[in-house]
């Protein structure tokens, strides 16, 4: 039997789960709650209870009680979770601040899954195969990104922009996904910032933030990456670090201080927080509004919304774009359906990820939107993969576009 050091720290959460099952089945129309677990729903008729929180909590009770050992089989099940934290949301919410579920004070499912993953890694049952590759790439000195790409490739996109500084108060952290998979979006971001008269610095020595390591419970490598990046920010004189990646945002703003045990000496912002300031100051020069308004719906990335409570600012950004009518999907904000990419699911279980993304795209179509936008390269990538496979009649009705690209398309 392994030590279960991390799970034991989460005993209050595990033993306080009373097994109501709302993390699997909850539908409560009066407050906009329509189901909870994207993995369980994607499994459809094969959705055994092990695929959502209650079943997993029952298993973890047995693990803590010494009745069930950690195993590779358990790992295969529990990594089929996007860590979207919707189960925590439904578990905590009375929808009224005057009525409190005390379990909300000691049940945080994300922390439980994180502890379990750490223990599975420490016991040698994880990382799973594909995750191990990602961690190896991330640790490889010639790469330092989870995509297995050459280190220098990450900065190719920036060669078009001679005005990017090496040091400054405002530092952009590009991360790995956009520079290696969505360069056009980064270039569009630069166009917006340049048009707005904004200056920023970028280091061509930044490493992966370590998000993938943290999400799969492989923290050894995160430590080194974090220290490198923090030294970099310090040397650049950063007062604010911003990123266009929701995963990096969570890692920098939440994980780094927790791992360090202290506040960071700079502020961390998401691109939408930067954009909203520019919009509020009328700094972004838009083309004049023409034609009918486009109906745009916003998908809340889990790493921005439920993980970081950033719900309204991206909506403010979208609402300020000329010619746009912002409409909501049935499940939004705290109830938003996950895109399916998080928690290492995209890399290890790509079909599951795509299935979940298709459900979200269909929901966007149901809302009547012409455009589904979001502000996370991981969500965008997964939506694009799902979009490729989705029914033609759905494709005809909607486009998927990053909010940055959408704004860039409206620039003068």
């Amino acid at each position: 039997m392994t030590e279960l050091k991390n799970l034991k720290e989460e005993w209050k959460a595990i033993m306080s789960c009373m097994g109501c099952g709302d993390c699997g089945y909850s539908i409560r129309r009066a407050v906009g709650r329509y189901l909870t677990c994207p993995v369980k729903e994607s499994k459809g008729e094969e959705g055994f209870e092990i695929y959502f929180s209650r079943g997993r909590m029952n298993v973890l009770k047995s693990v803590l009680e010494g009745k069930l050992p950690l195993s590779r089989e358990l790992a295969e099940f529990v990594y089929q979770c996007t860590e979207c934290a919707n189960c925590t949301e439904v578990c905590h919410e009375t929808h009224n601040e005057n009525i409190i579920l005390n379990t909300s004070k000691w049940i945080d499912h994300y922390k439980v899954w994180d502890a379990l993953r750490k223990d599975l890694v420490e016991a040698g049952f994880a990382p799973l195969d594909r995750h191990k590759d990602l961690v190896d790439y991330m640790n490889n000195d010639a790469m330092k990104n989870p995509y297995g790409e050459d280190f220098a490739k990450k900065f190719e996109w920036a060669s078009d922009f001679s005005n990017i500084k090496e040091k400054g108060d405002l530092v952009f952290f590009a991360g790995c996904t956009m520079p290696l998979r969505q360069q056009d979006t980064l270039k569009n971001m630069m166009k917006i910032l340049i048009a707005s008269g904004m200056e920023m610095a970028l280091s061509k020595d930044e490493w992966c933030c370590g998000s993938i390591g943290a999400r799969i419970g492989e923290y050894k490598s995160v430590d080194e990456l974090m220290k490198h990046n923090l030294d970099l920010f310090k040397n650049m004189g950063a007062k604010t670090v911003f990123t266009a990646c929701a995963g990096c945002y969570r890692t920098l703003k939440k994980d780094y201080p927790e791992l360090l045990g202290e506040e960071l000496p700079f502020e961390v912002k998401h691109i939408t927080e930067v954009l909203v300031e520019l919009l509020n100051n009328n700094k972004i020069p838009f083309k004049p509004e023409e034609g009918e308004k486009l109906k745009v719906t916003y998908h809340d990335p889990c790493h921005l919304g439920r993980h970081m409570d950033l719900y309204e600012i991206p909506r403010e950004v979208i609402a300020k774009i000329p010619g746009v009518e912002l409409i909501e999907m049935k499940r939004n904000r705290k109830h938003a359906w996950c895109c399916g990419a998080g928690g290492g699911v995209k890399s290890q279980f790509p079909d599951l990820s795509k299935d979940i993304s298709k459900e979200r795209i269909r929901e966007a179509v149901e809302s009547g939107a012409d455009i589904l936008t979001t502000s996370c390269p991981f969500c965008i990538g997964n939506f694009r993969d799902g979009y490729e496979e989705i029914e033609p009649e759905i494709k005809e009705k909607i486009q998927v576009i990053d909010v940055i690209d959408f704004i860039a398309s409206k620039l003068k």
Partner: protein, 505 residues
């Protein structure tokens, strides 16, 4: 087991069956922190035919089978009693089959939840009336019918959910599939009435706690949701137990078709504010009991008249003090009805401190007598102080005995969810085996006390069904008859083996 597994796999195909140890543990528990039974196999059947085949194999091989709907029961009812056997996960069968809008009868697969069904019905301005149990966001219609469930709202007006049952499709333990009510006649086009064509066989399966058959298709009478509703909350005067009881009797005597009427004991109000569960009641000077109601109507004038009558009873005759209209004023009734808090009402009474979970009793008693029982709960608690203090030494918190909200159901009866909340044997990194022993002993003692009140169990599961037999509470001829029915339908005691101690001999 491999050969048996193969037989079962051939019935449902391999995607819908598992003997993974991990999956089996996922299905090994229900709401209480004490009972566990690890099945050998978990199956997610798609229809009555598959269930019939599964039960035939179970009979051939002498393997017990337990159906599991939402898995929200509190007495070990939807997991195996002891280890082994098959769990039938009914949640794959969760579709609406038909809505007969003219006759307002909905037919569903039994694994559908009350939340999902009511979401569907609201598009037709309909609802189920009785909204099932308090766990209705997850709990299944099949589980509700198997337990005569109440607690999810609407029970004062509509009674237990079995009141609105029209017909059932049931797979009997031997694999036969029967239909009841109007559907017993093969020429009937659509389910429309429960009673007739001979005895009420559907009634046999209502509240059977899963021992007589597996419900697969259920037709329910549904109702138009009235467009007007009022909801009010009041602080009770001294002697809140007696006064609340009097209010319930007065409302019934006056013939007002109240939708919900609930009493919350002073101890719950006090603990709710002490532990931070109910910020809305923190401003109350005296933490006395609370009573609240919901009333529905088809017009403003009708609503006004009903509210006037209720205020006459509650405020004028029984000296209760109304709280303000908003939830922030303490009006829990608004949350309960308008925000569908009725499906979350009990959740915040559990987990008040880490790992505190319910060892409960859910029963019906007459409305005129429950105050006496609440005093007996106080005495029971005092009598078991020594045992309770053993938890305090380790956890710093004594188990809590009381009753949750007490509410009017049909007739002059109330539902009493009483019991005690206690701690599991795993606590803060250590296993305290004595906790399990004390919990089991105290729970049995509590159930025995409630049984001896003459209370009527509806959700019985493992614990209450066995207690009834162990303390010989059943009239001998009743038990003999029940056992004979069981033996006739299930000669090998395949279904929910262990409940009611039928397996003993």
């Amino acid at each position: 087991m491999t050969e048996i597994y193969k037989k079962l796999e051939n019935i449902v195909t391999k995607k819908f069956i598992s003997n993974s140890l991990i999956v089996r543990h996922a299905y090994s528990r229900v709401v209480d922190p004490l009972l566990q039974g690890i099945p050998d196999i978990v199956i997610r059947p798609k229809d009555a035919k598959e269930i019939s085949e599964i039960l035939k194999v179970a009979n051939e091989e002498n393997i017990p089978v337990v159906p599991r709907g939402g898995g929200d029961d509190e007495f070990g009812g939807s997991k195996p009693i002891g280890d082994g056997g098959i769990v039938l996960d009914m949640k794959r069968m969760n579709n609406v089959i038909n809505l007969d809008e003219d006759n307002m009868v909905v037919t569903v697969e039994s694994g559908i939840s009350w939340g999902k069904l009511n979401e569907y019905l609201c598009h037709f301005d309909l609802y189920t009336g009785c909204m099932g149990p308090g766990s209705g966001m997850t709990a299944s219609i099949g589980g509700g019918i198997s337990h005569q469930s109440v607690g999810g709202g609407g029970c004062a007006k509509y009674g237990s959910c079995t009141n609105q049952l029209v017909s059932l499709e049931v797979v009997l333990p031997n694999g036969d599939i029967i239909e009841t009510g109007s559907q017993a006649n093969k020429f009937s086009q659509t389910p429309f009435n429960r009673f007739g064509n001979g005895p009420d066989l559907a009634g046999l399966f209502c509240g059977d706690n899963g021992i007589l058959g597996v419900k697969t298709k259920i037709s329910l009478q549904v109702f138009p949701r009235p467009p007007y509703a009022a909801y009010k909350t009041f602080i009770l005067p001294r002697k809140d137990r007696e006064v609340s009881s009097q209010i319930m009797l007065d409302v019934r005597r006056k013939g007002i078709d109240i939708y919900d009427l609930m009493y919350i004991m002073d101890v719950i109000v006090r603990l709710g504010t002490e532990f931070g569960l109910m910020p809305m009641w923190e401003q109350l000077k005296r933490k006395r009991g609370i009573i609240f109601y919901t009333i529905e109507a088809n017009s403003e004038a009708e609503l006004e008249e009903k509210v006037k009558q209720l205020d006459e009873i509650i405020v004028n005759n029984n000296k209760c003090e109304p709280l303000g209209p908003e939830i922030s004023d303490g009006n829990i009734a608004k949350w309960h009805y308008a925000e569908q808090g009725h499906w979350q009402f009990y959740h915040n009474l559990w987990g008040v401190v880490p790992a505190l979970e319910p060892l409960s009793c859910e029963c019906f008693v007459p409305a005129n007598i429950y105050p006496k029982y609440l005093y007996e709960i106080d005495q029971w608690d005092m009598a078991h102080s020594e045992d309770m203090s053993k938890f305090t030494k380790i956890t710093g918190q004594r188990p809590i005995s009381s009753s949750g909200p007490i509410f009017l159901i049909d007739g002059n009866n109330v539902e009493l969810t009483c019991g005690f909340a206690s701690f599991p044997s795993y606590y803060n990194g250590e296993i305290h085996e004595e906790f399990d022993e004390i919990n089991l002993r105290l729970w049995k003692s509590y159930l025995e006390m409630v049984t001896k009140w003459g209370a009527q169990w509806y959700m019985m599961g493992q614990m209450a069904s066995q207690i009834m037999v162990e303390i010989e509470a059943y009239l001998p001829d009743y038990y003999k008859t029940l056992k004979a029915i069981k033996k006739t339908l299930d000669p090998n005691y395949i279904l929910s083996r262990g409940k009611f101690n039928f397996w003993e001999d």
